[in-house]
């Protein structure tokens, strides 16, 4: 398997930041009340990861080892500030909907984690690709969670997509069902934990099934004992 394929596999499935490393749970659980805001934050985080991994990898040979963490944090903070200002300028409604969680990307452990664990030890191209794939993995989990919670809780899918993608995107909104009583719990924080638990359980079940399929059970040959144990 080539190096880049391995990065894809690690980021999207085997070492998925949301499902396996369980990093960045705070925005993961707080923002995923709808697919739109989940996608918005997912894209923002992905962009941050891509940029920080690239920059950290570029400067990795010039930063003294002792002060690398503060330097990485400064890089991350600047990148997040840039992205926050960009969203403020071009996606004001979504910026307001996501609120504090955009600046909070700074504290997302995935970002500093990838900078320290991967980007500071690898060349620019693999590091950038790793950031992209980790970000995509995180965004996919966010979107799944957001979609499930939105469908269960509000009966819609992609409501408010125009906040993210512009006015044409109102056609993307799907009304699945109309109920007199909404299943509020799915939108509230406990719903996030419940759905997240089921997602992780589902991933583990798929992995277990794959492992069972890949490794056929070794047939043990049982032998009858033919010699007697000598009594001494």
């Amino acid at each position: 398997m080539n190096h880049y394929q391995e990065i894809i596999r690690q980021g999207l499935w085997k070492n998925n930041p949301g499902l396996v490393q369980l990093l960045g749970l705070c925005p993961l659980l707080a923002v995923t009340t709808s697919l739109t805001s989940a996608l918005g934050l997912g894209l923002a985080t992905m962009l941050v990861l891509l940029s920080t991994n690239t920059v950290v990898s570029l400067i990795r040979n010039y930063v003294p080892n002792e002060i690398r963490i503060p330097v990485f944090v400064m890089v991350i903070a600047s990148v997040v500030t840039v992205i926050e200002l960009l969203m403020h300028a071009f996606m004001y409604n979504l910026y307001q909907a996501l609120g504090i969680f955009i600046p909070l990307i700074v504290t997302n452990c995935i970002v500093i984690g990838r900078a320290e664990a991967y980007a500071s030890k690898n060349a620019v191209l693999p590091a950038a690709f790793d950031g992209l794939m980790m970000g995509t993995g995180f965004a996919l989990v966010l979107c799944t969670l957001g979609a499930v919670r939105e469908v269960i809780g509000a009966g819609t899918l992609f409501a408010g997509a125009d906040l993210l993608l512009g006015d044409w995107a109102t056609v993307l909104t799907i009304h699945l069902y109309q109920a007199d009583h909404q299943f509020l719990l799915a939108i509230l924080p406990p719903g996030a934990f419940l759905v997240m638990g089921f997602l992780i359980a589902g991933k583990n079940a798929i992995d277990a099934r794959a492992a069972a399929k890949a490794k056929p059970v070794e047939q043990k040959i049982s032998r009858a004992r033919v010699t007697q144990v000598s009594a001494q």
Partner: protein
């Protein structure tokens, strides 16, 4: 000969789980009957729906976990969970409410934690909280007790109301709750809470028709019937006295203190004891052998904690009744309570002794 080393308690009881659970269900019968008399025959339909859902979901999960379905189903623990949830939700609530609640209780709260004996939380109360948080309106739509009902409701109306949201004569559940002036009547605890927040005194609020002798009209008798059932459980040694006494004692003490300080803004202690779910919760719900504390001192602490929490939430919280929240919060504290209340092992000196 083998010496089986089991952890405490070392007392023997001849009763099996199934027998205990059957006794609990039996003891709830007077309460259910009185509830049906005052609040309509809907409670029987809710019971039926809940028990059917509980059996189906329990069997389904047991099949997935490849356990022995028949043995586990016949321990009747699912039946008791279903029963407790069905009597806790309003009699005329739509059918899907109790189905969602029971399925959640059995599948998520009980079986996902490992089945009977492993669940952290009381399944019925966790499901009640889920329903109350998700669907606040149908979960609080109690009809007024039958003596104060403006529109009479028959047994057939219960079927119609639960499955179609309208009684057979075409009234919606919210219309059934109205008095002669077309104003919805809330439960006594809810009415009192609203009135107190609007500046009425307790005595002024109590003049409303939903209140009866000592507590709410009908609610007093329901609580009394559950108290009787609870005493039967005590007599049969299905439950121990510590948890119910601690729950009722601490609720009584807190409300007595508040009532003595300010009788105009607080309900009387007896009103608190005979309102809402007090007796049902103290004898049937808080005494759940799985999720409650297991040490003797711990049970007193556990019960007292529930009583205090109920008083605090009833008086200052956002919900009129609070047993589900109180029991769940106390369930969370159980590992800590058990840790600090371990009894002295025989032959060991008490802590600090030389």
């Amino acid at each position: 000969m083998s010496f089986k080393i089991a952890s405490s308690p070392h007392q023997h009881s001849q009763k099996t789980t199934a027998q205990l659970m059957k006794l609990v269900a039996l003891a709830a019968i007077p309460g259910i009957a009185v509830q049906a008399y005052f609040f309509g025959y809907g409670v029987f339909i809710q019971l039926l729906l809940a028990i059917l859902t509980a059996w189906c979901s329990e069997a389904a999960v047991l099949a997935l976990r490849s356990k022995k379905i028949k043995v586990k189903l016949l321990d009747h623990s699912a039946l008791v969970t279903a029963l407790l949830l069905a009597v806790a939700i309003p009699s005329y609530a739509p059918w899907w409410l109790v189905v969602i609640g029971t399925a959640f209780a059995i599948i998520v709260v009980k079986q996902l934690y490992g089945g009977l004996g492993n669940n952290l939380f009381n399944p019925a109360m966790a499901a009640y909280v889920l329903l109350l948080v998700s669907f606040p309106l149908p979960m609080t739509s109690w009809l007024p007790a039958s003596p104060v009902q403006h529109i009479p409701v028959g047994p057939l109306d219960a079927v119609c109301a639960i499955f179609t949201d309208f009684s057979c004569s075409g009234y919606s559940v919210s219309q059934l709750r109205q008095d002669a002036d077309g104003i919805s009547m809330a439960t006594p605890l809810d009415t009192l809470k609203t009135d107190l927040s609007q500046g009425y005194t307790t005595a002024e609020s109590m003049k409303k028709p939903v209140f009866g002798w000592l507590s709410g009209e009908g609610w007093f008798w329901v609580n009394l019937a559950y108290l009787l059932g609870g005493l039967f459980l005590l007599q049969q040694k299905v439950i121990q006295w510590r948890i119910p006494v601690a729950v009722l004692g601490s609720l009584f003490a807190c409300s007595l203190l508040a009532w003595l300080i300010s009788p105009d803004t607080n309900a009387s202690p007896l009103f608190q004891l005979f309102s809402g779910a007090t007796m049902l919760a103290a004898f049937f719900i808080a005494t759940d052998p799985v999720s409650a504390s297991t040490t003797e001192k711990g049970r007193l602490v556990f019960g007292a904690l529930i009583g205090v929490l109920v008083f605090v939430i009833r008086s200052y919280g956002g919900y009129p009744d609070a047993f589900a929240f109180a029991v769940m919060l106390a369930n969370m504290a159980v590992p800590l309570i058990d840790y600090y209340t371990q009894p002295r092992t025989y032959g060991h000196k008490p802590k600090g002794a030389r």
